[in-house]
Amino acid sequence: MGASSLIVLIIAAVAFSGIAILISKVLLKATTNKQKGEPYECGIPTKGKTWTQLNVGYYLFALIFLVFDVELVFLYPWAVVAKSMGWIALVEIVVFFFILFMGFLYAHKKGALKWM
C-alpha cells in the first residue's frame, strides 16, 4: 500500500483508542470527590512538589547515548554496502569502532557509566 498506510495506521490507532475511551465514558457515570483526585502515594497525601528538580543520574547516559546513536545511524548505510565493498569496509569500521571504543573507555574510566 505504500506510504499511505502510515496515515491509515495513525487514523486507526487514534480511532481505536478514541472509541474505546468514548465507550467507557458512555458506559458509566463518574463521580468525583477530593480524595479521588489525589495522586496515589500508598494512601498518604503527597507532601511537597512532584515537579521539582531531581537527581536522576541519567543525564550523562543521555549524552553518551547520543554519541552512540549517531554512530549507529552512520552504520546503517555502511552495513548495506559492507559485503560488496569487501575488506576496505572492515578496515574502515575497525578504525571507526576503535575511536568509538576509546571514547567509551574514557567515559567508563571517568565514571560516567555509574548510576549516581
Partner: protein, 358 residues
C-alpha cells in the same frame, strides 16, 4: 493454495472492476484500517490469555479456567471490566499530556505494524529502509512513557518514567547493533529482501555462532525495550507500585497495557523476520521431500509460529527471573551487551566478506 496474498489480490481485482481508482484506494484503506484494528484487538486478547496461562503453568497452578472453555474468554472478560471502569485523570495532573500519552503509545505500536511481513507478499508497506524505520519509530515509545510519568504528578510515576527513559535509550544501541549483523549479511534494509535472503536457510543457522550471539543480544535488548520483566523497572511493582502508569485507570490503562503487548508481538515479529526467516518455511539442505512437506504449511502459519515462540521465550524470562536493579540494568547494557555486540558485528562483517556462511 490458500494464502493471505491471494485474498488481498482478489479483493484488489474485484474492487478494480467495480469502482474507479480513487474509491478503490479509499476502500482498501478502510479495509486495511479495520483489519489492523482487528489484529490489534485480537493480539491483545490472545497475548493476555497466553501470558496468564504460561505464568499459571510455570507456577504450578491452573490459571484462568472459568470464562469459556479452559478460560479462553478470560481476557475478553477483563476487557469488558476495564471498559466499565472509570478512566480518571488526577486533579494535579497535566491534563493534556496525561490524556495524550496513551494515544502516542498506541500510534507507535500501530505504526510499527507497517513493515512487518505477515505472510508471503502480504505486507502493508515494504519500504526499502524497513529495519531503520522500525528502530526509528520504536524509539518514540519512550516519549509516551515519559509523558505519562511526568504528567501524572505522582512521584512513583516520575521515577518510573525516568528509569524507563534511561533504559530504553540504552538498550536501543545493542538492539540496533545486533540487527545490523543481519543487515551486513544480506546487504539490504528491506524486509522482503531480508526474508528472501533466507530462502536457503535462516540466518540463525547460516551465520554460525556470531549470529546466535546477535540473536541472543537482540532478544535481551528487546525484552528491555518493551519494559518486560526482568527489565520492568519502569513498572517495578514492588518498588514503585506501578511505575509510570500508577495513575492510569480504566481504558487509558488498558491502552498502555495493549500497547505493551502489541510491542512485544512486534519486536518478536521483527526478531522472527531477521533471524528466523519470517514466513520462510524450514528448509534443510537438499532434503527434497522434507522441504516440500514444509512448503505445504502456509507461510502465515510459519510467521505466527515463530513469532509466538519468541513471545513465549520472553514470557518465559518474565516468569523465571527476578528484576534487575537500575544500575545493574545499565551495567548489563554498557559493560556486557554493547561491547559484545560491537565485537560481534566486526566478526560478522569479516564472515560476510570471507563468505563464511552458507
Amino acid at each position: 493454495m490458500w494464502s493471505f496474498s491471494g485474498i488481498a489480490n482478489n479483493i484488489h481485482t474485484w474492487l478494480g472492476e467495480h469502482f474507479n481508482a480513487t474509491w478503490t484506494m479509499i476502500i482498501e484503506m478502510v479495509i486495511a484500517g479495520v483489519a489492523v484494528i482487528g489484529l490489534f484487538a485480537l493480539l491483545g486478547l490472545v497475548l493476555v490469555i497466553m501470558e496468564r496461562k504460561v505464568s499459571a503453568w510455570m507456577q504450578i497452578r491452573l490459571g484462568p479456567n472459568r470464562v469459556g472453555p479452559k478460560g479462553i474468554f478470560q481476557s475478553l472478560a477483563d476487557t469488558l471490566k476495564l471498559l466499565v471502569k472509570e478512566g480518571m485523570t488526577p486533579d494535579g495532573a497535566d491534563k493534556l499530556l496525561f490524556n495524550v500519552a496513551p494515544f502516542i503509545a498506541m500510534i507507535v505500536a500501530m505504526l510499527l505494524l507497517a513493515p512487518i511481513a505477515f505472510a508471503s507478499n502480504f505486507q502493508l508497506w515494504d519500504l526499502n529502509i524497513g529495519v531503520l524505520y522500525v528502530s526509528a519509530v520504536s524509539s518514540i515509545m519512550v516519549i509516551s512513557i515519559l509523558m505519562a510519568g511526568w504528567a501524572s504528578n505522582n512521584k512513583y510515576s516520575l521515577m518510573g518514567a525516568m528509569r524507563s527513559g534511561a533504559q530504553i535509550v540504552s538498550y536501543e544501541l545493542s538492539a540496533g547493533l545486533s540487527v545490523l549483523a543481519v543487515v551486513v549479511m544480506c546487504g539490504s534494509l528491506q524486509m522482503s529482501e531480508i526474508i528472501e535472503s533466507q530462502r536457503n536457510g535462516w540466518w540463525i543457522f547460516k551465520g554460525h555462532i556470531p549470529m546466535l550471539i546477535a540473536f541472543i543480544t537482540f532478544i535481551i535488548a528487546v525484552t528491555a525495550e518493551t519494559n518486560r520483566a526482568p527489565f520492568d523497572l519502569a513498572e517495578a511493582e514492588s518498588e514503585l507500585t506501578a511505575g509510570f502508569h500508577t495513575e492510569y485507570s480504566g481504558m487509558k490503562f488498558a491502552l498502555f497495557f495493549l500497547a505493551e503487548y502489541v510491542n512485544v508481538f512486534i519486536v518478536c515479529a521483527i526478531g522472527a523476520t531477521l533471524f528466523l526467516g519470517g514466513w520462510m518455511p524450514l528448509h534443510i539442505g537438499n532434503w527434497e521431500g522434507f522441504n516440500h512437506a514444509m512448503d505445504y504449511i502456509p507461510s502465515s502459519l510459519w510467521f505466527f509460529g515463530k513469532t509466538f515462540f519468541l513471545i513465549f521465550v520472553i514470557m518465559w524470562f518474565r516468569w523465571t527471573f527476578p528484576r534487575l536493579r537500575i544500575d545493574q540494568l545499565l551495567n548489563l547494557e554498557w559493560k556486557y551487551l554493547l561491547p559484545i555486540s560491537m565485537i560481534n558485528l566486526l566478526v560478522v562483517t569479516a564472515m560476510a566478506i570471507l563468505g563464511w556462511h552458507f
